[in-house]
Structure formats: structure tokens, C-alpha cells
């Protein structure tokens, strides 16, 4: 089996697996990283979104082989309770979720947005999150949290 090497949350990672397997399956099934969630397996819901080279991408629809030598960031690489990313602090401050299953993917879409646009409008945030589905109806709280994080990051 060929080995695929990529940087996962800043750490060089080698995976011996079929390069056609989905990145989500590798993250969850091989690397036991349960942050990215399976939702549909068809790039339709965003629950499995990760950041690849600055872009928010559905990992369920991304073959392992395509991330060779690339930078992959998952929710695990975003921040921790001790060192939270401003988005994570803002999601807590805004109580921006109900069930939370979609949140890892939404945080990654939002993090990719804030990298590109440090001062997004409400509409920018909605556009960036439009491929992420939320079934609980937490949309507006999520948008508020992303805007709050952006303001927080600008103020630093």
C-alpha cells in the first residue's frame, strides 16, 4: 500500500492506505480523530468540513491521495479549552448551537473565511456558511458568533 504524507494540524503525518479512500474515513477510521463528523458522505451538508490549503472542503468527498504534501486542519487543530480559537470562545459566548453535530464543520468553514476576510459582513458570513447545513435553526446565533470572533480578532 502506498503511503500518503501530509501535514495534519501542523504535524507531518504518514498514512498507509488506499489513496482513493476518503479523507474523512482516514481521519475518523484510521487516525481516530472524531471532530469531523459524517453527515451525508456526498459533500452536501458540511459536517465533515476541514481546511485544506486555506479552503474549507468536505473531507467525505476528498480522496486521501489528493491531500498529499498539503496542509490539512481539522477542528482538533483549531484550539483547545485551554487555548481556544476566538471562534470557539465566541460560539460559547453566543451559545451558538443546539445539538452541535454540525458545529465542527461550521467552525472550519468560518475559520477559512476569517483567514481570507478579517472583517466580514453578515452577508459574507452567510455566503461562506451556505453549504453547511444546520437542522436545529441556530443559523443566526452562529452568524453572530462568527462576527463576534472577527471583531475580537481585529481588536487584537
Amino acid at each position: 500500500m502506498p503511503s500518503v504524507r501530509f501535514r495534519l494540524n501542523g504535524v507531518g503525518t504518514d498514512v498507509d492506505a488506499d489513496p482513493d479512500r476518503s479523507l474523512l474515513d482516514i481521519l475518523r477510521g484510521v487516525l481516530r480523530m472524531t471532530g469531523p463528523h459524517f453527515g451525508c458522505g456526498a459533500n452536501e451538508c458540511g459536517a465533515c468540513n476541514v481546511i485544506i490549503e486555506g479552503q474549507a472542503v468536505a473531507s467525505c468527498d476528498t480522496p486521501l491521495g489528493s491531500v498529499a504534501d498539503k496542509d490539512v486542519t481539522t477542528i482538533e487543530g483549531l484550539g483547545t479549552a485551554e487555548r481556544p480559537h476566538p471562534l470557539q470562545s465566541a460560539f460559547i459566548a453566543e451559545q451558538a448551537l443546539q445539538c452541535g453535530y454540525c458545529i465542527p464543520g461550521i467552525l472550519m468553514s468560518a475559520a477559512a473565511l476569517l483567514k481570507k476576510n478579517s472583517n466580514p459582513s453578515d452577508a459574507d458570513v452567510r455566503t461562506a456558511l451556505d453549504r453547511n447545513l444546520c437542522r436545529c435553526g441556530s443559523h443566526n446565533r452562529i452568524v453572530r458568533a462568527v462576527l463576534r470572533a472577527a471583531a475580537e480578532m481585529e481588536a487584537r
Partner: protein, 712 residues
Amino acid sequence: MSAPSPAPPQKLPPSLAANPVLSSWIQFSAQGHVVLSPGKVEIGQGIVTALAQIAADELDIDIGRVRMVRATTAGSPNEGVTSGSLSVQQSGRAVRHVCAEVRQMFLAAAAERLGVGADALEIVDGEISGPGNVRTSYWELADEVALDRQATAGVTPKSSARRMLAGNSVQRVDIPDKVFAQPRFIHDAALPGMLHGRVLRAEIPSAKLTELREDRARGVAGLVAIVRDGNFAGVVSDTEEHAETALKALRKGAVWSAQEKLPEEQGLADWLKSQPVETTVIDKKTPPHSGETKRTVKHQYTRPYIAHASIAPSCAMAQWSGDRVHVWTHSQGVYLLRTDLALVLKLPAENIIVEHMEGAGCYGHNGADDVALDAVLLAKAAGGRPVRVQWSREDEMTHAPFGAAMAIEIEADLDAQNEIIGWRHGIWGNGHVARPGRAALPALLAGTEIANPFPRTIATNPPQATGGGADRNSVPLYDFPSWQIDCHRLLTMPIRTSALRTLGAQGNVFAIESFLDELAAERGEDPVTFRLRHLSDPRARDVIQSVAKRANWKPAKQAGVGYGIAFARYKNTGAYCAVIAEVEGAKDISVKRLTIAVDVGEAINPDGVINQIEGGAIQATSWTLKEQVRFDRERITSNIWSAYPILRFSEAPEVEVEVIARPDMDPVGAGEAAHGPTTAAIANAVFDALGVRVRNLPITRDSLIAAMELSS
């Protein structure tokens, strides 16, 4: 000055009466924790936080000391199902009573140890102190106070004025884990030695597996077992990837045949009204004196089948040990699931432990219980190792029960002044509940598929006394002089239905509130005035007047923009909610803003209430503008998101919620209050904007065109 204490209740709260042993609810640890064990489960609604608030208040402890135990049949009180917006009402009252009583027991023990009267003691964060600087604590006394005894009536919980936390927006205790991706969901759990299972299901509901060639699947790496039991088939493999590959191979060897034709999607209302039914008169009010009917107005309203469409596909784990099985599930009712598992497995319930783990929001009875039986059946072939089973998106959108389609006919008799003197409301549709654990036969999907199958449970409706099903919210809250409400429950069920958030309330409120709007428009009367003129309940009037004020009812007319109002009291006994919708558009409607006033009695966690109301309103907007289960005569065709679109971020309306403070009223749930009024307010706003009355949900470009054609 504190408010006078309420009189001691003469009876235990029902949940506590059913589970009276105090220690089954609460335990104290020497390490300074209070371990609370409610029978209700977290489904993203924030119940564990609200219950922790109630306990912390009653016990005078910091909320951080409360540890919540997930519900399990191995020890938790049996509180039935977590549904119907009843958790804070049922579990909350029980927890409040338990904590009040336990506090008194600790005070008595402390008084004895310290040699002071209990009345002279005070409790601050679990430290009990009295005059002369004497002190002890819950934690010190934990071993001395025996909680393995029955709760007694006659304990008085604190008055609302003396509660420090209830009524305040406390941050939810489960949110940090979810934001920092700490495994909390069942989907992210792993047991030692765990295998992975997948169930083979047809695209066709209730199909018969006429042929199954296993040879291809047998050749897949990592295969542990292929399980076949009648029409139930599945694989068990060492990894999830191998299970998926084996399933794919097995699928190629499967031949299915349809057993029952699905209805025509077009003309669904006619189909609903032509099926064999069981008719129930839900309510009848005879007029004190009969006016003379000058004319009768009649309209029909419909809603389609609606999918729960949880973002996470259903998931469960099971592990056998001899003739005992342990099940991990995101079911809404661990005891009820256990009852049905026992029926299918023909085992005593004591042989089965069902333990809750969080799943994604379910919004009612989805595939959670079904996948638990799937895991149990597949784990039989795993030689004592645990098996995790996860459904596919397609199975979730095909085989999980749907919210029932409804056809609702309302007819009003009007007198010479166009006032309502008679009102008839008829409902046609499948029952709204086929939950497990309620009947002599199991209601789990695989139970209908195994070689000696159980018949499929035809959904029924709970009685009006517990809120009703298809008929939920069908009895008007308005002061009409007479009415008759009939419910026609279908006795056939080609499309599987069961509990979806609000049961029939969304459809009935849509129908009633649309119909009232039509009458008001015909009279040229303002719809707010019209409603208030027919409402005497002061709390109902309050939410309507509050929302009207907040939305500056009624804003000046602008081209292409419309405003609509609607109101309901959920189940006629729960939360009061009034919604004003602002919509925009011509061909495609977008909802710009929803202004909402809600009265849930005592709001334990006001931000939690707002979160539930906002979420409910946005979900209802999604149902109203987009959602409809699609099918042909054989299969459900809306089995992926692109075929079953839900509201996206760019489409979500602004939502503003006002919570009317009623700290001295019993708390009621907020999770389902907004759906009906939001739906009807949007439909009424569409009429205001375009002059087109859409009576068939969802309000899409197609249904708008159809409604325009009808009215032209």
C-alpha cells in the same frame, strides 16, 4: 421582602411519584459533587442545563458542582420519553421536589450534629453553617444522610423570588465539549474491540428481499459475518471502511420486490381522504343559542410528509454477553426502547441494559430506536464483541418515520354580520405516533423485517388529555360559540409515519390561523383586532399585543413586502406564542424577519428559551418554504439533501424573541411553541404581499403558481 412561600404540594410530581426513591435521582459525593440522574435526555434542547440550574438553586450550591448522569435502564428513573416539550415540566418539577426534600434532610442531620436548630442554619455552596461559627457541609454529611428512601409529599420548594439561578441565562453545560470537539456524541464513541455493522436496506420501503447472493461480500477483507434473518440482512466487519465495502458487495447480490404501492404524490389530499379511517370526535361545543347561518365558508389546507432529517444519521452500539445485551443509543426513551427490544428478542427486560448517549437533534421519532435493534441483531454474530451500526444518509431519509401528511378542512358558519357562529374542523391523515414501548407489539423497523416478522405498527394518535396527535391544537382557543372537531386517522400506512416535532399542531395551527386571516381579510378587519376580539385568555392576548407592539403592527404597505400574524398556545396547555412574519418576493418567497412573543411560564433559562424559539421558528420556516418528502409509486425519492433541501444560512430570517416573564407560573417547554404560528404567519404574510392564499404547504414557486391559478 421575599414573596410568601407557596403551600406545600399535597401530591408528588408525577415523574417522582412513578420513581419515588430519592437516591435514584440524586447522590452526594464526599468530593463535593452532586450527581443528578434524571430520566430525560439531552437532545440539543439544553435540558441538562435547566435541570442543573433547578438543582443548584434548590440545594444552594454552585451549578458547577452538578454532575449529570446519562439516562440508563440500569438505574435512572423511568421518565418515559423525552418529547412533547415536557421535560422541564416533568423532570424539572421532580428534580425541584427531590432537591427541596434532600436539602431538608441534610439540614436536619446538620442540626443534630451541630446542636443547633435547623432553622438557624444556612447553606452557601453546600457549606452548612449556623450561629457560633458551627459548620458542616453536604459533602461531610453525605454518608450519614440515607437517600435510599421514598420521597414524601408536603415538601415546599423555594419560592421563585428566592431562586438565584432559575430565571437567569446560564451557559449550557454541554456546549464547550461540542465546540472543542471532545467526543460527546454516540457517533464518536468507541468501545474496546468494537466491530462495525451495516444493514442492507432497499430503496423501496417495506420491500421483500427475494434473493441474496453473498459470494461477493464474502470475499471482502475484514468481514466477520453476514447476517440474514428474513428480509433483514447486514454485515459485520472489523472496520467501518470494510463494512461499507462489504455492504456494497452484498447490495449487488440482492433482489428486492415492492410489497405496497405508495400513494400518488400529486393529489395527496384526495388520497388521504379516500383511505379507510377511524373517525374520532375530538371536541364538540354546542351553542348556547343558535344564530341564523347566512353563509358558510369552507377551505382545505394541506401539509406534506416532512422528514426529521437529522444532520447525523442514526447510530447505535450493542454488545452481547450470553443472553444479556447492552445497548448504547440516542433514543429519546431508554426504557421504552428496552420494552420493544425485549419483545423482539423474546428476552426478559432485565437482560437488556439500554444506555443513552447524545446524538444530533432528532426532532422526534427518527431512526434512533430502529438502528439500536439493528445493532443488537448484528451483534449477535460478533462473538461477544461490541458492534457499532450507523445508517446511511439515504436510509435515514427513506426508512426513518416521517411526520404525517395532513389534509385539514375548516368550515365556518357566519351570521348576517359575518360573525362566526359555527366552526367545523376535520383532519385526515396517518396517526402521528408509532413510538416504541407503547404497545403489545414492537414498533422497531427490523422487527418487521426478520423471518418471523411483527406487523408494522400503524401510527395512532395520543389522547387529547396528553395533547393529542393529528388533532393537537385543533380545538380553537378562540371564543367561538360552537364547534366540532373530527379526526380521521388512516388505517393504511404505505409511508411510515411517527412523531415529528409538534405532531399535528403545525398543520392545525397553519389551517386555523390561515382561515381566520381569510375571514378577517374578507371582513376588512385588522387580523390582530380580529383575533383579540375572539380571545379572552389574558396570557393569549398578552403575547399577541406584545408582538404587535414590537413589530410596529402594522407597518406601511410596500410593494412586494407582506406582513402576517399568527398565534397558538402549544397543545392548548403549554407555551403561548405569537409570531409576525415579514416576507418579500414575487415568485420565490423569502422570509426577512420573524418577530415573536412567547410565554412559557417560569423561564428557567431565558436564553435557552430564546434559543429553542429561534431554532423552532427557523426550522418552521424551512418546513414552510422548502420541505416535502418526495416519492414515486415505489420509492422515496428525496433520500439525499439535494432532493430534500432545507433552509440555508443565506435564507434564514432575522428572528427577534420577547420572553414574557411569568416567574410564578409553572414552567412549560419552548421547543415546539413556534412551529405552528411561524408557519401560519408566513402564509398570511404571503397573502398580504401578493394577494395569493397558499393553502398547500410548502410555499414554493410551484405552489404559489398553483394558488394563483386557483384564485384567478
